[in-house]
Homo-oligomer: 458 residues x 2
């Protein structure tokens, strides 16, 4: 049934409004914005005859046809009466966007429990309350009051709407995007596990990401991520790990203290990726979205900048990664492209004179070398010798393309965040950029660990 | 004497060239670019009569006047002869940009040692070889082949030119900048300690930053940073901490293995800030450049986004920071500005409806509260309710200005890197932005720790 939330034939927007100062308006507009939406949309409100040129119904009971999904935007005190109408209308699913329930006080908890039981008895699934809604980019459905995520292969469940909002901003910067998104809020019925099961079977959801503050059914959660993980990487960030964090989460989603050590251990045991912070979370999305897994773990490094490769080498060792020894065959291939000052060791410091040609040839030689599994071209964009800011990146990505992207390429553009030309090229080529040595090393750690986990599982 | 490197009355550029494909050209152009430079500049080359409309000398010995500083750009095999001429000319200081000495092989080490001894006997100080040069933004002197740093209150010594390059790109993005910069390369004479002593006495150098790969005189280094630290924060990143890193550093700056545990312990003991990676390094620069120290350590948090304040609270506890308890007086001040759904606890989750007015009033009330030492306004830029993307930031910064910036303000704009309007406002106001909860918490940790260190020292 969860699929119908994402592919509804018909949607009723209950509490639709033309007032741009209300959250209900954002949801209404976000749904109506997509002119190609194949779902039928019915706007329900007592306060307007039409919104955006569409006629409104006074009640969902006035809608002449079957309604799959009802989205409830009315004030909290009016929600229970609306639920009764939805039950009478025999909708299949309800999304309660309205806040002011279990996250506020015990009275709110009682009301939301009552709603959950009523809907359960009627065979209706419920997402929320206190949520921003859901999105399905594959049909341009934005049934939420936040911006539509950029399009891509990641599906996300978040217990925080604003976390999703922030992640979407970050994804936009990194050329990443979402297929499906759900914010389950106080999750009185539809749970992480339900959505995860659905994402598991959904072909467009290649990577699964989760922001969670509390989990009610730890064992089921463990079982489902363990099942999914061999097929799709699961990337998790947990909020509310400390006393301060739990206190903050309790006023946010009515979260209760979770046994975090147990949860962390079971996530690891299941083979999923538990991130320490949102930066690592976005890095993990980027890495698994854009890169293949390596066959082995031997890394080849080239650079025009000693500093970046020194710092990368430090992090590589700290993360337990392995730098390759260059074979004689490889050295013979590298030599013709390098000036005599260059020492033929890994990391290969080609010095500031190296331009597009060197980055292309050396990256290619390493990508083709059987002793190297992962290639890290480090670069500080040179402000000299009339070099263009994107030529080196262009060289390494061409080499990657010419070797059919079989091995992971980790372009480390040291603090190169300001270079728009590089970002545009990355976007066009659907290639990643890492901006710091520790980010690059972290990405490799993720790839190598996942490869090991999959080997263990098979 | 070190001062004369940064404020030379006259400079000879030896190996000046009009060929844009040579590093020497970058140095030549970078020096000539500044039309207001008060230093006399003499271009020395055998290959051209004039460069950029300026007459050239065949040898430094042909220059009719005294020369303070000689910058050597000629190929390595020609360097020793040039040094002889500089000695004869009685220059005060030499910067050897040319590479190909101790970082290459033992022969190179012997030659650079010979140069060091000759210059020492002649009473001439030497920076380099194998360095990008130096900069003094206060007189627009860019005697290096990298781009001039943006202007600011940070002075930097880096053993890697490209590290400086990358840092300058990052500083540009964060509205930070440099006063003085030196890359000491293989540091055969002028050392970290010499430059640090100079920065200590230099009024424009408010914050001191160091990227180092090796240190020869550990005890002296400890003594100088211990002396400086009570007056100026010292921010250090060390490359070559691991076996891989040391191997990479040895081909980079001819670095030898340092006892890193001892070095780390002495840096901590001296009270300086040792960063784990370049992201933390830039964060530390930003924090100490733009924020005052707090009186105490109690933090007040406001937010429109539960997710960001939950994650911030987690990191705060992990870093040993303290969230304030709101007093009754403060609650009475906050209440009129908040909707009834808001729970009056710290972090104060004002929910998505909070706009500029709430951010101004609540931030101001917290900044004025005697029980709060540090204020963290968290924000996810709301994509709804017709809010402008910079209004909340504007509100918090106005509150900071109206309370005379006495307490640190830590604006956490959750993943808000894409919002140009906010960045522009930050630049205009010289105010910081932190983009993630862990960055914000790390910044507070730095401020609180420095405050404690200074208390201990006084």
């Amino acid at each position: 049934m969860i699929r119908e939330f994402f592919y509804p034939k018909s949607i009723a927007v209950i509490g639709a409004t033309a007032n741009p100062k209300k959250f209900g308006n954002a949801v209404t507009i976000n749904i109506l914005k997509n002119e190609d939406l194949i779902s039928e949309v019915y706007l329900i409100t007592k306060n307007a005859k039409e919104i955006e040129g569409r006629g409104c119904y006074q009640s969902i009971l006035d809608v002449p046809k079957q309604v799959d999904i009802a989205i409830i935007l009315v004030p909290s005190k009016a929600v229970e009466a609306i639920i009764e109408e939805c039950i009478e209308k025999k909708v299949r699913g309800i999304i309660i966007v309205t806040a002011g329930f279990g996250e506020i006080d015990d009275k709110g908890k009682i009301i939301e429990n009552r709603i959950a039981i009523k809907c359960k008895n009627a065979g209706i699934r419920v997402i929320g309350p206190n949520c921003v809604g859901i999105q399905n980019n594959d049909i341009n459905l934005n049934a939420s009051f936040i911006q539509a995520a950029p399009k891509g292969n990641i599906s996300m469940i978040s217990q925080s709407g604003s976390f999703a909002c922030a992640s979407f901003y970050a994804m936009e910067q990194e050329n990443l995007g979402c297929s499906k998104f759900a914010n389950i809020g106080n999750n009185i019925d539809v749970s992480f596990v339900d959505i995860l099961e659905y994402f598991y079977g959904d072909d467009q959801s290649k990577i699964i990401s989760i922001y969670m503050e509390t989990i009610n059914d730890g064992v089921e959660f463990y079982n489902v991520i363990k099942k999914i993980n061999p097929d799709k990487p699961i990337i998790i960030l947990k909020g509310g790990k400390t006393e301060y964090g739990i206190k903050a989460a309790s006023s946010h989603t009515g979260a209760i203290a979770t046994n975090n050590k147990l949860l962390e251990a079971s996530i690891k045991q299941a083979g999923a990726i538990l991130c320490d912070n949102i930066t690592d979370f976005i890095l993990a999305l980027k890495t698994h979205s854009l890169l293949p897994l390596p066959k082995g773990e031997k890394i080849g490094v080239l650079t025009n900048s000693g500093g970046s490769s020194v710092l990368f080498s430090d992090k590589a060792e700290e993360y337990g990664l392995k730098l390759a020894e260059f074979s004689n065959e490889l050295l013979q291939k590298l030599k013709p492209h390098l000036i005599s000052l260059v020492k033929l060791i890994n990391p290969l410091d080609m010095i500031g004179v190296a331009g597009e040609k060197q980055y292309y040839e050396i990256t290619k030689a390493m990508l083709e070398d059987p002793q190297i599994d992962i290639v890290v071209p480090c670069l500080v964009v040179p402000p000299f010798l009339e070099m263009s800011s994107s030529e080196h990146y262009n060289g390494m990505v061409r080499a990657w393309n010419d070797t059919h992207r079989k091995k992971p390429l980790i372009p480390l553009i040291f603090m190169g965040n300001k270079f728009k030309e590089i970002k545009e090229l990355a976007s066009q080529e659907e290639a990643p950029i890492y901006y710091t040595p520790h980010e690059a090393a972290y990405a490799i750690k993720l790839l190598v660990e996942r490869k090991k986990i999959l080997k263990r599982t098979v």
